[in-house]
Symmetry: C2
Subunit: 236 residues, 2 copies
DNA sequence: AGTTTACTGCGCACGCTGTTCGCAGTACGG
DNA sequence: CCGTACTGCGAACAGCGTGCGCAGTAAACT
């Protein structure tokens, strides 16, 4: 059959009965489930039940589970709005970075999904547009704009990925968290004791960041500063 | 039961018969399947069949499928060796970045797995150690070392993620690739025509990078340069 | 040497998954 | 007012991860 991507298909067909649900409705239901119970709870049957419809009816709206994921990603991207541009590129990019990170932390499943395929829904495009708008100034080469925006977005996504991976390893639960930290400490001792990782050991022993409660906030702030400094070197 | 993480468990138990397989053997089989047929082909039954053993025997080696994935990740990380340090931090980090990217492109499933949980096997640690070694110089604050290494690795992972997502959307196949590009172009026209995305449109029309065959190589090179410039600002 | 103990391999079974097919019902275009 | 192109959906299929319990085996202890 090989249908075109969902963003090119009209939501309502020319002929036939009016569909019982909208794409937004379906996406919202799936996002709700994923937020509350994790990505694994999102199954075709489950979302259909959530919408009080038959399981296979979903396939009238979506070409398969991957497209349901596409809808979810773009819907979640609409949860936060790109900040209005102020004209100060550094402030604007900082705002984009913080908003994007917050958005991903609010929907932890988000960083794992677009790994499969690029999603190009309207909300995702709006974020892209906002990032380009912040980077773009008259006289700056288009390829340079592209590279700078990619550098920032790529960094933010990568950071959120690792942050969320660690958060989920501790399962968010406080008891599980300290359990996990204890296991980490035990493993850390073995790593240091082995003598194979001198620099790693120095970091474990000397760095303060890993022990702070807000370590990811601090690390993000610092690393983001580095990235922006790198961009600054290539603008006027 | 709540067993400790696999890296803390001895491979061979004190008592009982000698296990028929080694962890390395299992990891290698799973990596082989994932490389050849994709992550979805990696199932407990499939790997067991590959090892000519019973399906549930695998559970004697691994606490569940997630731990099988852990083994795979660390095994794949051993596919490339961290480059030997030369003393030039910028050259060393560039080498690490290129090697890591190449490694992830060789095992495209790799970027998707650690999203779930942090993997801390010996090969992964070796890479971390090499990165710290490149960044670390006497007199540099440990927290600064941590931040700089995180910035680089995070960026590389993020870049590989997007690169692989696009590669897989085209399914590697040449015919499917041009099909996909045609769809993209069609969508691009609509995006430009809508007038909602002026900067995005400018990029599509003016930038050269997106149309080049080696666009990801170029983008990576340029963005990596930006990141390294950012780090340079915080050293001596 | 004999016994105890802790392990290994593994068949069975359960509940779940994504997706294809075909059929009855419905609203719009001509 | 008919034909056509759609919608909703139940049944069915192949495949998934994994808990349970049992027989066999090798090391440790007496």
């Amino acid at each position: 059959m090989d249908r075109p991507p969902i963003w090119l298909r009209p939501e309502r067909a020319a002929r036939g009965p009016r569909p019982a649900h909208s794409r937004a409705e379906i996406a919202a239901a799936a996002v709700r489930v994923a937020d509350a119970e994790g990505l694994t709870a999102v199954s075709m049957r489950r979302i259909a039940t959530e919408l009080a419809t038959g399981t296979t009816s979903l396939y009238r709206y979506v070409d398969g589970k991957d497209e349901l994921f596409d809808l979810m990603v773009d819907h979640a991207m609409g949860d936060g709005r790109p900040p209005a541009p102020t004209g100060d590129w550094r402030a604007d990019l900082t705002a984009v970075a913080h908003e994007q990170r917050a958005l991903m932390l609010r929907h932890p499943w988000l960083v794992r999904l677009p790994a499969t395929r690029p999603v190009l829904g309207p909300n995702t495009l709006a974020w892209l547009e906002a990032t380009y708008a912040a980077v773009d100034v008259p006289g700056l080469d288009a390829d340079e704009v592209l590279a700078q925006a990619a550098t920032l977005l790529t960094f933010v996504r990568g950071h959120a990925l690792e942050e969320i991976a660690e958060l989920e390893a501790a399962r968010g639960d406080q008891a599980a968290m300290s359990d996990w930290l204890a296991k980490q400490a035990q493993y850390g001792e073995r790593v240091i004791g082995s003598g194979d990782y001198p620099h790693l050991s120095r970091m474990m022993l000397e760095a303060e960041t890993p022990h702070a409660a807000d370590r990811f906030d601090r690390l993000f702030e610092r690393s983001l500063g580095h990235v922006l400094d790198g961009l600054a070197a290539h603008r006027s």
